[in-house]
Amino acid sequence: MAQRTPLFDTHVRSGARMVEFAGWEMPVQYAGVLAEHEAVRTRAGLFDVSHMGEVVFRGPRALEALSRLFTNDLSKVADGQAQYGCLCRESGGIVDDVVVYRRAADDLLVCVNAANRQKDHEWLAGHAAGADVRNESDEWAQLALQGPLAARVLQRLTSADLPAIRTYRFARGEVAGVPCLIARTGYTGEDGFELFCPPDAAARLWDAVVDSGEPEGLQPCGLGARDSLRLEMAYRLYGSDMDDGTTPLEAGLGWVVKLDKGEFVGRDALVRQKEQGLARKLVGFVLTDPGIARHGYPVVQDGRKVGEVTSGTRSPSLGTSIGLAYVPPALAAEGSTFAVEIRGRPAAAKVVKTPFYTRK
């Protein structure tokens, strides 16, 4: 049976269409994917992301323990700052892509993907020598308010100094009377905030944000728009674009792999892979023929399958068909062309620079 977030009743009452995703019953859309997408790009949208998990590292060895399990360099991060990166296996395969929120050197919150809550907790707890690692996923609900007007909508509800919370920073504060961790993070490419709050206050917080955003045209959003928004930014989706069999280097996440920061799990494998060269790379492409490339469609070259599409959609902002695919390095350069087999027929595609969409 699928799990439900504390906002389940709110979604149903508001007319959302619910689907099962990663073991959760979640809203896929309210008004429609395109309308919600547009609201986030031009005004504001509100997402329930309570299905995401939280694993917390505490104690004097917290920072050191997490650093050894994280590809990015946490020594560059101050208290009140967040950082994106990967957890890797010894093989270099990605356990998950996560955001670490450093509340203090001895108190770090790792926000993990919904489907990986348990896996990540087991992995982290099993490899974090000396740190106290807890799965606090059930103790947090999470709302994501995203869009150019997000700050204006939120400021009406809080005395927190939002302009002081710069990108990838966070602060504690009350929003509509609810104690929150207010983080200037998100996964849509727009300015916005993620609000971590107690589950029993989530519905109250949701309603307050919706009411505050009404004059600005705020739109409650589902997973459909979340997917098209993140894909326009070429943000990877765990389980589609990467998994335990993929390394961050293959997934194009080399920028969050700091090989010179010191030891971390997976480092040796990644160093080796870098020396030997990659067998495949994740690239962004646009279709130059009609059609929509979808997850799992083959990438073909000279009639032979050479890769696979991992994500694809019609970009609502650009009006073109975009996607991510694993291809051999020879086809990975910008401007390279290949075909995507759509229902047995080849459609021409061209590798382009990502993100597909740039914020105006």
Binding site: V28, G32, V33, L34, I292, R314, R343
Partner: protein, 127 residues
């Protein structure tokens, strides 16, 4: 939900409208609502033949790919080409501007065998 009285319907949520000797085909209001925003449609060409119960094209929404199944057999005599550039018409006007193809039926009796509006409405309510 809109259920025009003068149409025939399939269990796959296509509708068929008799227009002279031709049968015009599209998808129902229920179908477009279930699909969500339609962003792409792939239709046959004039002169192609379609066969009752078999796929004659594809409609894609932001969420999924869905096949279109022919309510009847026959030859395609007209295609709603503007849908290629404005597939969202299928959402906004599924029974009129959002029509998909017109077919010259090979067996006019096939149309009679389709569900009438009462049967289709009951079918949808069970879904």
């Amino acid at each position: 939900m809109d259920f025009p009285e003068d149409l025939k319907y399939t269990r796959e949520h296509e509708w068929a409208r008799q227009k002279g000797s031709r049968i015009v085909i599209g998808i129902t209001d229920f179908a477009q609502d279930q699909l969500g925003d339609v962003v792409f449609v792939e239709l046959p060409e004039i002169g192609d033949t379609v066969k009752k119960g078999e796929s004659f094209g594809v409609v894609e929404s932001t969420k999924a790919v869905s096949e279109l199944f022919a309510p009847i057999s026959g030859k395609v005599v007209e295609v709603n080409d503007p849908l290629a550039d404005a597939p969202e018409t299928i959402n906004s006007d599924p029974y009129e501007e959002g029509w998909m193809i017109a077919v010259e039926p090979s067996d006019p009796k096939e149309v009679e065998a389709l569900m009438d509006v009462r049967a289709y409405r009951a079918f949808v309510e069970e879904q």
